[in-house]
Each structure stands twice: as structure tokens, then as C-alpha cells.
Symmetry: C2
Subunit: 286 residues, 2 copies
């Protein structure tokens, strides 16, 4: 099953991600509508031509006509929305999302939707340090990873449609992971890095430091400017995996600390050699 | 006192930094010589016209003629060189360096040099994840910080010459710090960030991860590809300050860990708000 241009696509939620999905799909010639509880965002998207139809209430007509529904909400809002309005989604519709955590979300959404509407989860690993539809950008997905997160309940047709959506949006690499594997991976490569950057910025309040920082500090802390509402929810939703990865990282940090404290030059060098060898693999696009 | 083009400049050590100093000064029309124990590096620099004269032994004539001597060696090699050959440096010469740690270095060099030759320490906060004269680049200093590290023994004339050298090399911001303040600052903004990146890379050996990383992980670990000989020496030379900064960062990380573990959403959000506010200051060029 592929996305075709006669299909009606609905986006629920018009923040940075919802807006960027809308802008990219509209640019490719698809028919995109949106509902959001923020009137200003809907009016902005209509004015800019990012969407064809929009409403700042849950418009029954717009929702029930959609062939593909894409949720771009925070996890708890996503679940609430489907619980309250999911029955409006028509039989045969394919539903997907952008949520950054999957365990505890995918199963519940699949349970809440009425039979006949299929939820296939996805995670576009793209973002910016800014929020809202006014910062949306159809090119945000270029070079990025798109992860499809199927369960045993998904059909090959819906998985194929979801993959096709990722291709149309311009993602560089599209892969599939189980909800559990996805959440473990995200805990390490994304959530842990944000924890590190936030902790580092909170460790020192000397405003003079900015005068001495090099690129290394600037690059490492770029993500320390963070949407606290969204990320605190993502951290807590994925708490178990995140704490495991934080433990693993702290053991490694403590090992290096021990080598420095005891003056074990060879121990330090060995960690640096491992680190360098592994990091080199990341420069080769896989 | 300013650098003038009749002065003979000698660079001791032809790695990435020595080579980049040589290339930048030669491009600006200064007369640059170099000595290094690596014959290949000297021959390469001569062939490329980065230096005018060079030797792979400690050539008495080249050393004794120099008006300005710039040391681009690792800390312990720098001290050894000055102990063994420092007497060749002529009276009236100004000596400077590129060493990334200052306590325990600056005082010793000032003691070892014969009266009449003045050592004024400097730290060019620029670098690359590559080594050697073959990677040298006269543009490496653009937009970077240059720190002059004077002691009570330095004269205004030598400090001025050192500042002028930083200007000629193209540094964006030139400041002065005491050796102690310098080492504390470097422990936090440079050494700690390298410790974090190395620890993170050592925390996980799953080569599949590269398939899922986003920009945040890539940016944070760029410096995890590290020269283990140089950085292990810098870490150990600045051990006391570095361990203090590692402790401070770990307390902050542990605080965030505790909030996540107990589900304290407000605690997490407060750290993220502090982090975001502080990080925004780093985007404003000061």
C-alpha cells in the first residue's frame, strides 16, 4: 500500500513536527488537513498554505474523512485524544505518529482504536531547538533516521504505507525496531545525551565561561536548550530504560575518574583508544 | 613591543599546532624557522614553504638567532627541552608556548630559562581531531579564543608581543588569565567535555547504534576521537582541577538521575529551564 494523492491526510497537532510534516506533504502535492487546539497555529498554517483545511476544534467531518491520520502530540495528550475522539476515525484508515517513546503507547493506542483502523507507530528522529508551527520546515527530515515500530498486530500493507510516508518526507535511512528495542536505543542515543548536556549546563553558573569556550563545549551543549514540557514527559515515560543507560554511562565516567585520580595513564589511554576507534565508525555513513 | 618582520621566529615542535602557527605566520610575511625531532615533518614543512629554515636536530645556529621562540610540544617534552637546550636561547628573546595546562609548567619554564630570556605563556584554544604537520591549517585560529597567562615575572612588553602574536594569527578573542584561573577554566570547558565524550563512547559497544544516531549524539561525541598520548598527559598534569570539575558535574548528573528515578517532573523541568537559559547565552557572541 502506497500513499496516493487522492488520499486525505489528517495531522493532529500543529507544533514543529506536525507543521513540518504538513509542509513537506503539501509541497509534494498531497491533500493535507489539520486539527489542533491552538487556533493561532491553525490560522497560521492555513494562511501559509501548509494545510488545505483546518480546525481548532475536533471537527467531525475533517477527522472522519481522513484516510491517513498522523498524530504529532505529546504522549499523554495523544492517548487522551484517541480515547475521547478515536471513534471518529473511519474504518480502513491508517494511523501513525511521531512519538519519541513507544512502550506503553503503541499497545494502548492499538487497543483504544476501533477495529478496522490500524495504528502503525513511527519515530522521525529529527528535531530543532525551537518549537511551534512557525518554525516548521519541510527540509528538517533530510539526512535523518526514520524508525518504524510495528507490533504483531500490524499488517504488511500498513507497514509499507508508513515506510512510503518516510520516503516522501525525505528521510535518509528507514529501519524497523520493536517497541522495546526502540526505547532502549532512544534512551542511549537521544535521551542520555540530553541528560548529559542539561547536567553539564547546570554544573556551573559562571557567566564568564562563554568567553573561553571552544567548539567542543558549544557542540556538546547545543541540545541543553531544551523544551522542558516535552522532554520531561519523554524521560518519565521511558524511565526504566533511561535509568539503565544513565547507570551504564556513569560507570564508564567513574572508571575514567578512577584512572585520573590514581594517575593510571595506561587506563586513561586505553579508554581513549576505544573511544576513538568507535567514534570513527560514526563518520562513515552506514 | 610588536612582532616585526625583521624578527626571526622559531617554532619548536612541528605537529598540528606548530605547523599551523608556522603556516599562518609565513603567510603573513614573517620569517619562520622550526626545529623538531621528526625529520619527515621538517622536510614536509620546508617543501611546502611553511618554514624558511628547519632542522631535525637542535641546531645551535637556528635556536640562538631566534628573537621569538614558540614551543608547540607536549608539557613534559617542553620542560625537558628547555632544561637541556634552554641556554641556547639568546638574551632578549621572548619565549611563548601553546600548552593546554599552565600550573606547574609556567613557573618551571621561567625558572629554567636564563635571565634575560622572558617566557610569557599562552593557550590558543583551537584544535582539530587530527594530528601532525600534514593537517596544519593557517585558518584554524579564526573565531577562536587565545588566552595569555602572565605571572608577576612578566613585563608589559612581552605581554604586548604575545597579544600581537594572537592578533596576527587571527584569533577572535584575546584575554588574560592567571595560571590557576586558566587551569580551572580549561578543566571545565575543555577537559571535562572530553571526559564526557570518551565515557559515553565507552559505555556502549553496539555497532548498530550508528544506524540510529541523530545530530545530537554525533555533535556530543565528535571529540571522542582523541589523541590519547596528549590528552592523558593534559588530564594528569591538571588532575586536581579536573577531578573537582568532574565531581561538580557528577553531582549535577546525579541530581537529575534522582528526579527521574522518583518521578519528580518539576525537578526535571527546573533543571531544563536553568540549562536552557544558560545555554542561550552561548549563542550570543560575547
Amino acid at each position: 500500500m502506497k500513499l496516493d494523492k487522492s488520499m486525505k491526510i489528517l495531522i493532529v497537532g500543529l507544533g514543529l513536527m506536525g507543521g513540518s510534516y504538513a509542509a513537506a506533504l503539501t509541497r509534494e502535492g498531497y491533500c493535507v488537513s489539520a486539527v489542533s487546539d491552538d487556533r493561532d497555529s491553525v490560522e497560521y498554517a492555513l494562511k501559509k498554505g501548509i494545510i488545505k483545511n483546518g480546525a481548532w476544534t475536533v471537527d467531525e467531518k475533517i477527522v472522519s474523512e481522513a484516510d491517513v491520520v498522523i498524530f504529532a502530540l505529546y504522549p499523554h495528550t495523544f492517548i487522551e485524544w484517541v480515547r475521547e475522539h478515536g471513534n471518529l476515525i473511519k474504518t480502513g484508515a491508517v494511523v501513525t505518529d511521531v512519538t519519541g517513546v513507544k512502550c506503553g503507547i503503541v499497545d494502548r493506542i492499538q487497543e483504544l482504536l476501533k477495529p478496522g483502523a490500524e495504528f502503525i507507530a513511527a519515530h522521525p528522529m529529527a528535531g530543532r531547538e525551537v518549537c511551534g508551527v512557525r518554525n516548521s520546515d519541510p527540509d528538517i527530515f533530510k539526512g535523518a533516521n526514520y524508525i518504524i515500530v510495528p507490533t504483531g498486530k500490524n499488517t504488511p500493507g500498513a507497514i509499507e504505507l508508513c515506510r512510503n510516508l518516510g520516503e516522501i518526507l525525505g528521510f535518509e535511512r528507514i529501519t524497523e525496531l520493536s517497541p522495546k528495542k526502540h526505547d532502549e536505543m532512544v534512551a542511549f542515543v537521544s535521551q542520555l545525551t540530553h541528560c548529559i548536556a542539561v547536567s553539564l549546563m547546570c554544573a556551573c553558573d559562571d557567566p564568564e565561561l562563554v568567553r573561553y569556550t571552544g567548539d567542543s563545549f558549544r557542540d556538546l551543549t547545543r541540545i541543553a536548550n531544551i523544551n522542558d514540557v516535552m522532554w520531561s514527559e519523554l524521560f518519565l515515560t521511558n524511565r526504566v530504560s533511561l535509568l539503565e543507560e544513565m547507570d551504564r554511562y556513569r560507570s564508564s565516567f567513574d572508571k575514567l575518574y578512577g584512572y585520573i585520580k590514581t594517575g593510571d595513564r595506561e587506563g586513561i589511554r586505553e579508554m581513549m583508544r576505544i573511544s576513538s576507534a568507535r567514534r570513527k565508525n560514526f563518520d562513515i555513513k552506514g
